[in-house]
Each structure stands twice: as C-alpha cells, then as structure tokens.
C-alpha cells in the first residue's frame, strides 16, 4: 500500500496518496541510439580535459574540499543557516498532519520545480472537500519533506481538470532590477498561435 500523506484544511484531515508524474508518463520517452559510419553502436562517455581519459557511468565521484582545496570528511561537516546557526533537522511530512495555508499565484510562479504528484484519496478517504476548494482559484501550500532532512521544500496543492496536484520545489531567487543593475551579455508568413494549440507531445 502506498504511503499516505495527511493534509489538513480548515480543521479537516484528508489522507491522500501521491503518484509522481513526469513527461515520460504523459507523453512517452525518447532514447537516442547512435552508430558510427560502419554501423557500430556508439555510446556516450565523458572525456577528461587531458583528451584521452574516458570515463563511464559511475566513474566520477564528488569530493568535499575546504577553502584550501583539501579533502574534508563529510561526517565532520555541520549544516548551518545563512547566519551560521546550526540547523535543526526537519521530520518527514508523512509523520503527521500537514496544515494547508492559502498561497498566491505569484508565490507559486516563483517556485523552482522539483517534482509533480497527482493526489488521490487515501484508503477509505474522500478528498471532495479539498477538490471543491481547488475547483476555484484557491492554491494551498505547506512545507514538505519526503524523508525528513535538513530543510523543507515548499509544496503547493492546486487543482486542474477536477484532479488535485501537488507541485514541490523551492522558491527562486528573483531580483527586482533597477537601472544601475545592468548585466554584461554572455556572447554566445506569420501563423496565428493560440495557447490552445500548444503541442506538448512533440516537445
């Protein structure tokens, strides 16, 4: 049985199931096959800067280094917030009820996406009350962590096509720009287009 997340709205609690959604599930997937001039199958590898060292999947690793470039044991690291204060770990959102707060469209649009889930009623549950609220323009948010960890992501619950979706991500760092904040450029027969005509399948 899938894990159930408990959402709480206006004092009512709803156990919900989550199904992760991605492009592959909606439109299918595309894999690339490559062949050389003689029809031999070719595969992608990473080439190091020396121009001869070829690296396959799993051939690289991440090392944590200090300011001097010396490798540091990860178990000795401390997680801190932007003020340098230690961070209290957060529990998994599956451990207890998650209170939904109303959110604005702009807050949602400021989110950097990580994952999308389709929400369904939990066993013997009913999410009609939630769906009724989502049928309008209501959006809800709550702090979310799948397994628990150092910080929460931000989850938004919104409705589309009579279904409830949960979109998880983190707020983006947008900057309101003034005249003196210019950047330097990194150099590198009309057809009517309707929003309804947008083709996602072929993307």
């Amino acid at each position: 049985m899938p894990r159930e997340l408990i959402l709480s709205l206006d004092g009512r609690e709803f156990p919900v199931t989550m199904v992760k959604i991605d492009r592959d599930k909606l439109y299918g997937s595309v894999e690339i096959e490559a062949f050389d001039e003689k029809g031999r199958e070719a595969s992608l590898r990473v080439l190091a800067a020396d121009g001869k060292t070829l690296i396959d999947k799993g051939g690289t690793s991440l090392a944590t280094v200090n300011e001097k470039g010396t490798s540091v044991d990860r178990t000795s690291l401390k997680a801190v917030d932007e003020n340098g204060d230690p961070i209290e770990p957060v529990p998994s959102s599956f451990n207890g009820p998650n209170v939904l707060e109303r959110a604005t469209t702009d807050e949602y649009l400021s989110q950097m996406l990580k994952s999308v889930y389709l929400l369904g009623p939990g066993e013997d549950g009913d999410i009609k009350y939630l769906l009724d609220h989502l049928a309008g323009d209501d959006i809800f948010t709550f702090p979310f962590s799948y397994r628990g960890g150092l910080e929460y992501d931000k989850a938004f619950v919104l409705g589309a096509e009579n279904e409830a979706f949960m979109v998880v991500g983190k707020p983006a760092e947008f900057v309101f720009l003034k005249l003196n904040q210019a950047t330097v450029l990194d150099s590198v027969e009309e057809q009517e287009v309707s929003v309804d005509d947008l083709d996602f399948d072929l993307l």
Partner: protein, 237 residues
C-alpha cells in the same frame, strides 16, 4: 545567455536571460566553521573497468587473482584527480568517433514502441536572426498554472540604459494584465523556444512584475501539462 526578443511594438533588442537559482537555506561548514565546496573527481576510467580487464585476463577467476595480488583496477597517478572542463563524446569498440548517425527511439507512456526516426538537432532560436516574438497571446496567471507545469525559469536582465526601458515597459505591461504572455521563436514566430542546438524545445511564457522603479521579467519554460496521465485513468477504470 543572450536573448533577442521583441516588444509589443515589434521592436527587438538583445538582452540577457540569466539562470535562476533556488533559494539556499542550508550551508555546510567544516569543523572550523569555514565553508566547503564540492568538486568532481575521477574514480575510475574505462581502461580499468571490468570489460577492459576481462579483455586482458580473459577469465573472471584470473581477474580475481590479479585483484588479490595487485591493483590492476587502479591508476595511482590518475585516480582522484579533480575533473574540470570535461566533455561528452561518442565511443565505439574502436575508440572515440566524431561522426555518428543518431536515431530517436520514441516509446509510448505504456512502454510500447511508437517510432524510430533520424534525430534532427534543432538550431537554437533564443538569439538568432529572428527575434523571439511577442505573440500578444495572454493567458491569465490563474489559468496558466492550472494548465502548464513550469519546469524551468530564467530572468531577463537589461544590458544598458536603453534595454532597461525596453524591459521595464514589457514588465509593466504584463504586470498590468496579470497574465503570462506566450512567446515563440523562429522565422514565423510560431516555434517553441530552443536554448541550445539540439536542446529541448520549450513552450515559453513571459511574466512581468514591477515594484516602483524596478522590474522583474521572468521567462517560464514548460514542456509538460498539468494533467493526469492516461495510463492512470485506464488503470482506475
């Protein structure tokens, strides 16, 4: 990254489209409270992988013996070096190849095959001969978020005083309409946005926000709709 974009009057300008990072609340420090960073290093290369060792030793048992006696899977000089400026290359059994023919194997959501076709690498259209078109197709923010999943974002940034006015006016117009604007690329202004040659095409929407004398112009990129997969519908019925 540069973007050549036109405004509602059809005037175009090249400005910057900068990547947007998520807010970072957690930082790691070492025992002295100093910040640390992560670097990629070489763990092993193909010359020391099992298939290569098998070519030399012929049998797994012989490889096992060699591993006990010696370290044939390790290059002490190389392994552990930090990797920078890496690139991706195609290799065959004969080594690196520079000329390959690529095919796309398309699979349906249920896993059944749909198509196999030669891969066509679309050229980027963010900063080309034809500016990104202001289509005039607005969609209310409330409607847009219920229809599209915005998988990536960029922020448009001015590069001089003239382009400040150019982008500020665009942001003001969009802020007033409380809508996202569909933008398209290509000669006819009807193509999705492709940021790099052979890159993923995205349906792109522009959002503008204004605070006093400052603006924020956000490019929302979407390659997915917010909807239930058909397979899930079928499984439930």
């Amino acid at each position: 990254m540069a973007i050549n974009i036109s405004n509602p009057k059809g005037r175009d300008a090249v400005v910057a489209a900068e990547g947007v990072a998520p807010k970072r609340d957690v930082r790691y420090v070492d025992e002295k409270g100093k910040p640390v960073s992560n670097l990629k290093l070489l763990k092993t290369d193909v010359l020391h992988d099992l298939p290569e060792l098998l070519k030399k030793k012929k049998k797994l048992e012989k490889i096992a013996d060699a591993l006990i006696k010696d370290d044939p899977e390790i290059d002490i000089e190389q392994f552990g070096m930090f990797l920078t400026d890496t690139s991706r290359v195609y290799v065959t059994s004969k080594g690196i190849v520079h000329l390959v023919e690529e095919f796309e194997v398309v699979t349906n959501p249920d896993g059944s095959p749909r198509d196999r076709r030669p891969r066509v690498k679309a050229a980027q259209n963010m900063n080309g001969e034809f500016p990104i078109k202001w289509t005039g197709k607005y969609i209310k923010k409330e409607d847009a978020i219920k229809r599209f999943v915005f998988t990536n974002k960029k922020q448009l940034v001015h590069v001089n005083g003239l382009t400040f006015d150019f982008l500020f006016d665009m942001a003001k117009e969009l802020d007033k309409k409380k809508s996202l604007l569909l933008i398209r690329g290509g000669e006819k202004g009807n193509e999705p946005i492709v940021q790099n040659r052979g890159g993923k095409p995205y349906n792109a929407f522009l959002e503008g926000r204004v605070k006093k004398d400052s603006y924020c112009l956000i490019l929302h990129l979407s390659n997915m709709e917010l909807k239930k997969p058909k397979d899930l519908d079928a499984a439930e019925s």
